[in-house]
């Protein structure tokens, strides 16, 4: 059965990772609503340019969409929906996490020490109501759309204010926007890297209703008992659709039209301590028996250069062979080599340690710990904890020995239930590890490592090899939160209803 989504109604950023469609530049804007009436007028103007999920250049029903130079998407905080005067009965139907917002949830997220909201970009101290993203095929296209949006502020007679206070490239802290961009290699070609040198954005979750879903679900959907992959239930990522628990997400507000085809977005500005990372990796690789690149791969679960999963390329020799096969594979074959794998042959973590980023955020079938048919399905503990990742790096590394430049990732996670999906992964699997039987050992790259009591992880070995495990010790805080919020991305219908002031849950 193919499940058909109304792609004309779903915002494009939910279905498409714009970065992989050659949208190399992005700009994120935050607004405060000053007046309900005029604010809705502004939302109505933006609604005319909101990019849908209709495939570009293809027929979808009666709609044909050409690929635009720039895309635009819109989302709201709880305070924003209040300011736009949604009825109380609708507002009360939103989940607690979204109502509170990210800063209030810092104890759950582990945003402590240098990640504490008091050190965030000062824009997050403002009343953040509306988020608008522009993704462009060029910076000129981004700026053209940006100028158009500025005109809409004037046109609605300042019903909204574009908020200032993003930190920028030269230490300024009052920018009216957050820019992001793919990184470029030495030849000026766009690359899928982030500032630590890892290849990013490979294994996003795949759900029922997306195009070409059977092929894309390999390694990215849910693992079945017979070793196949199926797309996850739509309701894990879109409100108003049935989820993995065979029910409609309980996080949906009323009326149904407000929620249907919408989702929740976690937006985080994550600063990368590049100098510390480089020193830490150099220092640790002195005592590690393999190469420095292998150790870097053990942290993430993928080799930095091309994203090869270490579970299928666990040492330098097998990596060289993997690279040969990868070079010979066609486009679909390459995708498959990057995503289609399990940890079934690596129950000791000798290839990919339990602490590796990849294994922590998506353990696939490995939480059965090799016990045959332990659970109803291999992904029983995983299928309700998946997220869709969006975002791009920001800033440039001018001095790879320093931490204090402007460099990091704009991270966005999309899910139907922030608490059950994003927050659970962050709290239980990144900053804690009881589910992996690793006590309090945090994930190396994203963990909120404590400078006063630094943690460690164990890089496991094959028990038959006779080689002792390696201990990665004194792990510093490599990534710091610099800002963020919880947003609701409504369907395009709902954006228009909000703009028209027609939301009525009666």
């Amino acid at each position: 059965m193919t499940y058909k989504l109304d792609l004309t109604d779903i915002q494009g950023n939910i279905i498409k990772a714009y970065g992989s469609y050659n949208y190399q530049k992005a700009r994120y804007l935050l607004f405060r609503v000053n007046d309900g009436d005029k604010g809705r007028q502004f939302v109505g103007a933006i609604a005319t340019k909101v990019t849908s999920a209709v495939p570009w250049g293809k027929l979808e029903g009666n709609a044909v969409a050409g690929k635009p130079q720039a895309t635009t998407n819109i989302a709201f905080t709880y305070m924003g929906l209040q300011a736009l005067e949604l009825p109380d009965a609708s507002l009360r139907g939103f989940p607690e996490d979204f109502m509170m917002g990210m800063a209030e949830r810092k104890e759950i997220l582990g945003d402590d020490g240098p990640s504490d909201p008091k050190f965030w970009d000062r824009i997050w101290k403002e009343d953040v109501h509306i988020w608008i993203s522009i993704n462009g095929q060029s910076i000129e296209a981004v700026e053209e759309r940006y100028d158009w949006i500025l005109q809409q502020i004037d046109a609605c007679k300042n019903g909204v204010t574009l908020l200032m206070g993003h930190r920028g490239e030269t230490g300024e802290d009052n920018l009216p926007y957050q820019d992001a961009s793919v990184l470029y290699d030495n030849n000026g070609a766009p690359s899928p890297k982030e500032h630590f040198g890892y290849t990013d954005g490979i294994g996003d979750a795949v759900f029922e209703g997306q195009t070409n879903v059977a092929a894309r679900a390999l390694g990215r959907g849910k693992l079945t008992r017979d070793g196949n992959w199926e797309p996850l239930a739509t309701g894990e990522f879109l409100l108003g659709h049935v989820d993995e628990a065979m029910e409609y997400p309980r996080t949906a507000p009323t009326p149904a039209l407000l929620a249907h085809n919408g989702t929740y977005m976690v937006y985080r500005k994550l600063h990368e301590n590049v100098g510390t990372f480089n020193r830490f990796l150099d220092e640790q690789s002195k005592t590690f028996s393999g190469s420095k690149e292998l150790l870097a791969a053990k942290f993430s679960g993928r080799w930095r250069d091309n994203g090869a999963p270490i579970v299928n390329a666990p040492d330098d020799t097998s990596k060289a062979e993997w690279d040969k096969r990868f070079a010979a594979a066609d486009f679909a074959g390459k995708k498959r080599m990057l995503s289609d794998f399990t940890y079934n042959e690596d129950m000791h973590g000798a290839k990919c340690p339990f602490s590796a980023h990849l294994r922590r955020i998506n353990p696939r079938g490995s939480l059965e710990f090799g016990v045959r048919d332990a659970y109803e399905t291999p992904g029983a503990l995983v299928n309700r904890r998946r997220i869709i990742r969006r975002g791009l790096p920001y800033g440039t590394v001018k001095d790879a020995t320093r931490d204090d430049g402007n460099h990091g990732i704009i991270f966005m996670a999309l899910n139907a239930d922030i608490q059950r999906q994003f927050e659970f992964i962050q709290q239980q699997w990144i900053n804690y590890a009881n589910d992996f039987k690793e006590g309090n050992d945090k994930e190396v790259l994203l963990g909120n490592h404590d400078a006063d009591s630094p943690g460690k992880v164990v890089i496991h070995t094959d028990p038959d090899s006779g080689k002792p495990p390696h201990f990665v010790t004194n792990i510093p805080r490599l990534v710091e939160t610099r800002g963020g919020g919880y947003f609701f991305i409504p369907s395009i219908t709902a954006v228009k209803l909000i703009a028209a002031g027609l939301i009525d849950p009666t």
Binding site: R105, E107, I108, G110, E244, A245, M246, E247, R250, H348, G349, L367, E368, F369, V371, D373, A374, Y375, E376, T377, A380, L381, N383, R384, R385, R420, F424, Q427, Q428, N431, Y432, A433, N434, D435, F436, K437, E438, G439, N440, D441, S453, G455, K456, V458, H460, T461, P463, G466, K467, P468, P469, F471
Partner: protein, 216 residues
């Protein structure tokens, strides 16, 4: 009042069951205990510290004193007692999707049991019949059962290693030490305070610590 102590969440659930059906549950429990294979899902769920099911016959409820009037109960009851990581809200999904058939089998004969999937009716059924914990003592508040099992294993291995290593040559010592590390490589998790279970539980704990601080 809190269902949380240290790294454990205590759950007491008591559900009515028709007295003339309890023999089926007793049989199921007996078979399960004899065949640990049937409980492998439960045992593999590393979030669970402990779980026990008990049938309380309708005439079997304790009385504190012979003078306490005997209750005339219509149903027998099944008591489920468990300690696990996190909270019911956080981990209900993990229980439901890992061992739905097992849950359904154990509760099948209980009054108004809705089945474990879809999740919301099951979640509510358990919450409705849950008796909140009035007093909860945890001897090792920084440890989950995984931590304790690992600590026991490491302690024993170290004591054994110590006794057998007295007269070893440095080369043999190193070889055996490496082997010890390999054997224990999945038991070295750090033991530090628990991540907060919920914001409300955290607030209660902070107020308690604060008032303790003030009174000292």
């Amino acid at each position: 009042m809190s269902n949380i102590a240290g790294k454990a969440y205590a759950m007491n659930v008591i559900t009515p069951i028709r007295w003339y059906m309890t023999w089926i549950n007793r049989l199921i429990f007996k078979i399960a205990l004899k065949n640990p294979e049937t409980l492998k899902g439960l045992i593999t769920l590393s979030l669970i510290h402990y779980a026990r099911w008990v049938i309380v016959p309708r005439s079997g409820f304790p009385r504190l004193d012979p003078s306490q009037p005997k209750e005339d109960l219509q149903y027998s009851y099944m008591l489920f007692f468990s300690n696990f990581n996190g909270s019911w809200d956080q981990y209900v999904d993990s229980f439901t999707f890992a061992i739905p058939a097992g849950l359904d089998l154990f509760w099948k004969w209980n009054i108004r049991y809705p089945k474990s999937v879809p999740l919301t009716p099951f979640h509510k059924y358990i919450r409705h019949n849950q008796i909140d914990t009035l007093h909860y003592y945890n001897a090792y508040p920084m440890a989950s059962s995984n931590d304790i099992k690992s600590a026991q294993k490491i302690k024993k291995a170290l004591i054994d290693f110590n006794t057998t290593s007295v007269n070893k040559t440095p080369d043999d010592f190193l070889k055996d030490y490496n082997k010890l590390l390999i054997d224990l490589q999945h038991h070295f998790g750090d033991m530090k305070p628990t991540p907060i279970v919920s914001l409300s539980a955290d607030a209660v704990k902070k107020r308690y610590l604060q008032s303790h601080l003030n009174s000292n």
